[in-house]
Symmetry: C2
Subunit: 203 residues, 2 copies
DNA sequence: TTGATTTGGTACCGATCGGTAACATATAGG
DNA sequence: CCTATATGTTACCGATCGGTACCAAATCAA
């Protein structure tokens, strides 16, 4: 059944200017890398999901590895935004900031769709210690832990460095635990544990 | 330079009966999977490392996925042996058993060659929720946490269930943190943190 | 010694991997 | 309008992936 008339020019699905290819690729990569794992996702799949092709992908990212690094860098950036947010939320109460952090972390660790921390997962998947992503991962993790330590100190809690380490590892553990044990796992009690640990550092 | 004489028959490198192929394959897979990651290692590499070939590998394991599952099952078995060990070490002092656990966990989390918990890493790498390895992982993690809870209860500590969750997540966190942050990371202080948390549950 | 079972070796399968060449098309700026 | 730049399309590269067919050599039990 061949068309007898020239087809009506199809209107673009989104009349507003669509995201530029680079952003679409990054968005597609974010989704696929996080949900399926970095090594499990090929560049073809990313290009297709982004509604483009492999050539355009390689015009914007010189290799899959630097795409991975950029994917993680963006996530680290969102984390910065989050820290700024809780600071703006309670400008003069480090204690409440810590509460916000704990609550958000708990939400994050208990997200049924979640697959833990993308940065930590990447560190597990990318064993090569010279992978371009590793710098991003280490810097982000170190910065997160240090921010937390500053918060604990500002909140006037006892042994703030140790408290920060405890809370940091508790969260890292909860996020990886959510992937190994499914439902009804220790990470369901994350917030309560965090509160108990904080309480044990009260003066 | 062609050989002028027929070569002396090479003696086997190990005169004693060598490990059977199945064990060699499992040993090779353990080493490679743990150090490089499961998805990063192909069956060819495993067979070659095991000093055999792909055909023999597939005669003993119907697929790479069941080889992975068996690799993890063995590790879970070694964990059972460890629990039996610390129980035999201090038969009538749950408190000392907990001390042994903490010390061993600390050694494990701070091993510079280590790459964290192989079971947890596998959970991160194998996102497919119907992968044969996932049952092994979940059962092992759940059993570990429950053993720890029993130990905390027997040791007569306050809120043993919560304490077990805290220590469990602390260890999970330390092992994943060792991979993301390199040296000088919170997991260096793992044992001290564990002791502090235990102390906060003292009656 | 015979016969059955277990290995090793090699070549191969289709699929996919990361990455590129070449060319056509669209878009935008002057 | 012309030109430069960004994007789309297609086909391809060599390498590797997980998995198998086939046969020879070794091993072992009877």
């Amino acid at each position: 059944m061949t068309p007898r008339f020239s087809p009506v020019p199809a209107e673009p699905l989104t009349p507003v200017p669509v995201m530029p290819p680079r952003e679409r690729i990054l968005a597609a990569a974010s989704d696929l890398f996080y949900r399926q794992g970095i090594r499990a996702v090929g560049v073809d799949a990313i290009a297709e999901t982004a509604g483009t092709n492999k050539m355009t992908l390689y015009r914007h990212f010189e290799s899959k590895d630097v795409l991975v690094a950029e994917y993680l860098r963006r996530l680290a950036g969102k984390s910065e935004v989050f820290w700024a947010h809780i600071q703006r939320e309670h400008p003069d109460s480090p204690r409440k900031q810590l509460g916000s952090w704990l609550e958000a972390a708990g939400r994050d660790a208990n997200d049924p769709q979640g697959r833990g921390c993308a940065l930590a997962n990447a560190a597990v998947e990318l064993a090569e210690k010279d992978h371009p992503a590793r710098r991003v991962i280490e810097e982000h993790k170190r910065a997160s832990r240090d921010r937390l330590a500053k918060l604990c100190a500002d909140a006037g809690l006892k042994q703030p460095e140790m408290l920060a380490d405890e809370l940091f590892l508790l969260l890292e553990g909860a996020r990886v635990c959510a992937q190994s044990i499914g439902a009804d796992s220790p990470c369901c009690r994350f917030v309560r544990m965090g509160e108990a640990i904080i309480a044990s550092h009260e003066k």
